[in-house]
């Protein structure tokens, strides 16, 4: 008996693999990034097929959307710096000495061996086997939310999630630090129509994002997806130059970055006492607290992702500093 979906699965899997190979082998970088974005979207599709809509959403929004934007921006910057902005066919952006083919083949051979080993191990493993299913099912009622993924993210393994936000924070600090004083490549010239489009779509996107966040407690969606969608707002604002960061906004931005983390961690600490340990929300306030955290974290994530896209710390750049900040 063949499940009709299986054919879809096989096609999808084949496409994913083909795209993966293509991403790495296609000569034009721009094409590679576009292929990668397609790949990400197809993966998200596959994950929907695997009943993981939250993940698919996150991948589509963050793993593909924001990442794609970042990659394209970077490519743009590199081409600008290299003076090859107009040439769509430029293959690489960094001067490289070619690696001998033998080494490439050796790498490929090793990786083939690894694939083989991992595949054997995978086939050997008990699929659909043990998991947290039962534990989660037991614990959900006490978690304060209905949706499993959100419960895991914000209650059972909220420590992980906190640290994940911390990673974002670390990233934005690092990026600011790295790019400080970097002169910017001129934004791609967005036409007036684009700007108008941006103006029109922005409110809609905000609504979608907020909805996602709200839905997160009982259905797929949540802080990260919501945050990503809201970040898209920021990215559009930045791209369309509807918003230009200024040095004066730095303090606010800082607060924005740490807001989610701070509140998250603060709540985690504040709930302690009376026999409760860190992160142990009192059951009666669990939902409220989680929503509070989720909301603020969403804002932080959005601001952070947008800042990651923008890159530079908005400072008044002195020419000398821009050249050498060593």
């Amino acid at each position: 008996m063949t499940d009709p979906f299986l054919i879809l699965d096989l096609l999808l899997a084949g496409a994913v693999i083909a795209l993966a190979v293509a991403t790495l082998t296609v000569r034009d970088l721009f094409a590679a990034i576009v292929l990668f974005i397609v790949l990400g979207l197809l993966s998200a599709l596959a994950w929907v097929r695997l009943s993981a809509p939250d993940v698919a959403l996150a991948e589509a929004a963050i793993g593909t959307g924001v990442t794609g934007a970042l990659l394209l921006k970077t490519l743009h910057h590199l081409r600008y710096v290299a003076g090859t902005l107009g040439e769509q066919t430029a293959h690489g952006v960094t001067p490289v000495t070619p690696v001998p083919m033998s080494v490439i083949w050796a790498n490929a051979a090793f990786c083939g061996l690894i694939t083989l080993g991992l595949a054997i191990a995978f086939l050997d493993a008990p699929l659909g086997g043990p998991g947290f299913d039962a534990l989660v099912a037991d614990a959900i009622p006490a978690s304060g939310v209905d949706h499993g993924v959100t419960a895991v993210l914000l209650n059972f393994r909220s420590y992980d999630t906190l640290m994940e936000v911390v990673v974002l924070l670390a990233a934005v600090i690092a990026v600011w630090q790295i790019e400080r004083g970097l002169s910017e490549a001129p934004s791609p010239d967005l036409s007036v129509i684009w700007q108008g489009f941006a103006r029109l779509t922005l409110p809609a996107i905000v609504v979608v994002g907020t909805y996602l966040l709200w839905k997160g407690s009982e259905a797929p969606g949540g802080a990260f997806q919501g945050g990503a969608v809201l970040a898209a707002v920021g990215i559009l604002l930045l791209l369309s130059r509807l918003y230009v960061p200024r040095p004066a906004h730095r303090a606010l931005a800082r607060w924005g970055f740490v807001l989610g983390t701070g509140v998250f961690a603060g709540v985690a600490l504040l709930v302690t006492g009376g026999g409760r340990v860190t992160f142990e929300y009192p059951p009666e306030h669990a939902k409220t607290l989680i929503l509070l955290i989720e909301g603020l974290v969403t804002v932080s994530i959005a601001v952070t992702l947008a800042a990651l896209f923008h890159g530079r710390e908005p400072v008044a750049v002195r020419a000398k500093e821009a050249r050498h900040d060593a």
């Binding site: 001998p100 080494v103 050796a106 790498n107 090793f110 061996l113 080993g117 026999g275 409760r276």
Partner: protein
């Protein structure tokens, strides 16, 4: 027939000497030279003693013959002459006065053989004189100043000696009432006669203080002549004493004391004088003097105590043979060494030279040691008063001889003797032959005459230490002398040179290696690094390692290895390790006090 044989033996060298006067025959005769003493050797080997032949019609009646003693003398003497004449053949090849030398050589040979075979005083005296005077020609052969001086000294002593000897023999013959030596041997000779005989023969023997002629003469004569002078002819003195003096019959206490004292003095005084010489042959001459001192000790003891003669006599014969062969070898060795042109040959010959030298010095088991030990044993039959001193003197003579030999060897190198151009190996052969005989003497001797050999064979093997001591002293002296010659600091530098060289060489070696290693060490990492960077091998290693670990794991799963974690190996459970979360929040269990540190960490 027999007298003819004896006459042939003695006369054959004379015939050859005469024939030499014909120039055409000279080459053949030179070639035949080693054959001249051969009849004597054959006589000695083939005829069994005792044997007497008389030719009444000669002079006052000629008596010749062989007895046990003279047979042995004849054998080693003729062997020596054979060796010497073989050497002379080559030594004299280019010499302008070769014929003259050959004539004298043959005459002396004839005389020497003749006196051994003679049994009456007249014949003996005649042969003795022939030998002595012919030898003058040998000594003076080179005609240079030293040779002439030596020859003068020699001839003076010979003349005086002949005179004294003649008087002694006459007196003895009168007192014995016979000119037969055998009669004299058994007669009660007067003290004066014995004294005259002793002095007369003593001059030939070279015992101090009658030795003055000997070292210069031996030094001055050409090598083959020196060999027979030292090896064979001076034994004629001993032979004379043994033949003419009534040893073992009558006691001559005073004479004995004098002879013995002279012998003892000789042994060591010769050492002191010998080491001062500046060339090898006089040193060997003094060594002969020293050795004759030993023989004199034996004679003296026998003079004092006639009873000891039976024991002493065979030993003296043995010693005479031993010394003759060794010393002959040594002299020939000097010549053979001098003829060598290459360094290798010189070194080889030096080593070969050491064989007779050590034999002479009395290395244990060799004839030198056996002879001395036998003499010590024989002397126990003599005067007890002297015995310890004699033993000591004999023992120490080993040291003295060793030193002299060392000196001789050193002088060969420091002051190389001159030699005519000739085939080096031809000169080496007689030397090696004699040296071999000297070494093999303890084996050969019993074959010749078991009875005479008995006391020698019974003797102990002798001690090593006198020789060793001598060698040590010689080495020290040599080192000191060398150190003096090059300066102390230089010398110590030289001493430490091997260590320094070694360390320097090691140092150089290491320096070379280190430089190479440094080059390599600089090049290899750079190369590796550049490849690593260019090929991004570090990245490949990631994949390689994962693959390797996977393969190892796959392999081990096939090998049925029991997989245990360190934690499980110690039988711990989850609870022990405390990984399992207990029911309550924070687990603070009370544990046994010993699990807690005794003192809090500061």
């Amino acid at each position: 027939m027999t007298l003819t044989v004896y006459l042939f033996v003695v006369g054959w060298p004379l015939v050859m000497a005469t024939a030499l006067l014909i120039p055409q025959a000279r080459p053949i005769l030179w070639r035949m030279m080693p054959l001249a003493p051969l009849p004597a050797l054959l006589l000695g080997l083939l005829v069994s003693a005792p044997q007497f032949v008389t030719g009444d019609w000669f002079v006052l009646g000629l008596t010749m013959g062989l007895d046990d003693v003279s047979r042995l003398f004849l054998i080693f003497t003729s062997v020596l002459w054979i060796a010497a004449s073989s050497a002379a053949r080559h030594w004299m090849r280019e010499d302008p006065r070769a014929t003259w030398f050959a004539v004298m050589f043959l005459l002396a040979m004839s005389g020497n053989l003749g006196l051994i075979l003679s049994k009456d005083a007249m014949a003996f005296y005649g042969a003795f004189a022939l030998m002595s005077f012919a030898s003058y020609g040998l000594v003076v052969h080179t005609r240079d100043a030293a040779a002439r001086k030596a020859a003068l000294l020699y001839i003076v002593f010979v003349v005086v000696g002949e005179l004294i000897l003649f008087s002694g023999l006459v007196l003895a013959a009168t007192q014995a009432g016979s000119i037969l030596l055998a009669d004299m041997r058994t007669a009660e000779l007067s003290g004066l006669a014995v004294a005259l005989l002793l002095v007369g023969f003593g001059i030939k023997l070279g015992v101090m203080p009658l030795h003055f002629w000997l070292p210069p003469a031996h030094g001055a004569a050409p090598v083959p002549a020196s060999a027979v002078l030292s090896g064979a002819m001076i034994k004629a003195g001993l032979f004379g004493i043994m033949s003419a003096v009534p040893l073992g019959v009558v006691a001559y206490g005073d004479h004995g004391t004098v002879v013995m004292a002279a012998g003892m003095v000789t042994v060591f005084a010769a050492l002191l004088l010998g080491v001062q010489q500046t060339s090898a042959k006089p040193v060997l001459g003094f060594s002969s003097v020293s050795q004759m001192g030993i023989i004199a000790i034996g004679l003296g003891a026998a003079l004092m105590t006639p009873g000891a003669w039976v024991a002493i006599m065979p030993v003296l014969v043995f010693l005479a043979a031993h010394h003759g062969l060794s010393k002959g070898a040594l002299f020939l060795g000097v010549g053979a060494w001098a003829a060598q042109t290459g360094r290798v040959g010189q070194i080889v010959l030096t080593l070969a030279f050491m064989v007779p030298a050590l034999v002479l010095a009395g290395l244990p088991i060799t004839s030198g040691a056996l002879g001395k030990e036998a003499l010590k044993a024989a002397l126990t039959f003599g005067s007890e008063v002297w015995l310890p001193w004699l033993t000591l003197a004999l023992t120490l003579s080993g040291v003295a001889t060793t030193l002299l030999m060392a000196r001789a060897i050193a002088l060969i190198w420091l002051n190389p003797p001159k030699a005519p151009a000739s085939k080096p190996e031809a000169l080496a052969l007689p030397f090696l032959g004699l040296a071999g005989l000297a070494l093999a003497l303890p084996v050969i001797w019993p074959l010749l005459d078991a009875t005479m050999a008995a006391p020698v064979l019974d003797a102990t093997t002798g001690a090593l230490w006198p020789v060793a001591l001598g060698v040590a002293i010689a080495l020290m002296v040599a080192i000191t002398a060398y150190a003096q010659s090059i300066g102390l600091a230089e010398f110590i530098n030289m001493l430490t040179a091997p260590a320094r060289n070694l360390s320097e060489r090691l140092g150089n070696f290491w320096a070379v290696k280190r430089r190479a290693a440094r080059r390599l060490g600089a090049a290899v990492p750079r190369t590796i690094e550049s490849y690593t960077l260019q090929w991004r091998l570090g990245q490949t290693a990631i994949a390689g390692l994962i693959a390797a670990v996977l393969v190892i794991e796959a392999a081990s799963s096939l090998r049925d290895v029991r997989l245990v974690t360190p934690a499980l190996r110690l039988g711990l459970t989850e609870q022990d390790i405390g990984l399992q979360t207990p029911e309550v929040e924070t687990e603070i269990e009370e544990r046994e006090p010993d699990a807690i540190l005794d003192e809090p960490v500061e």
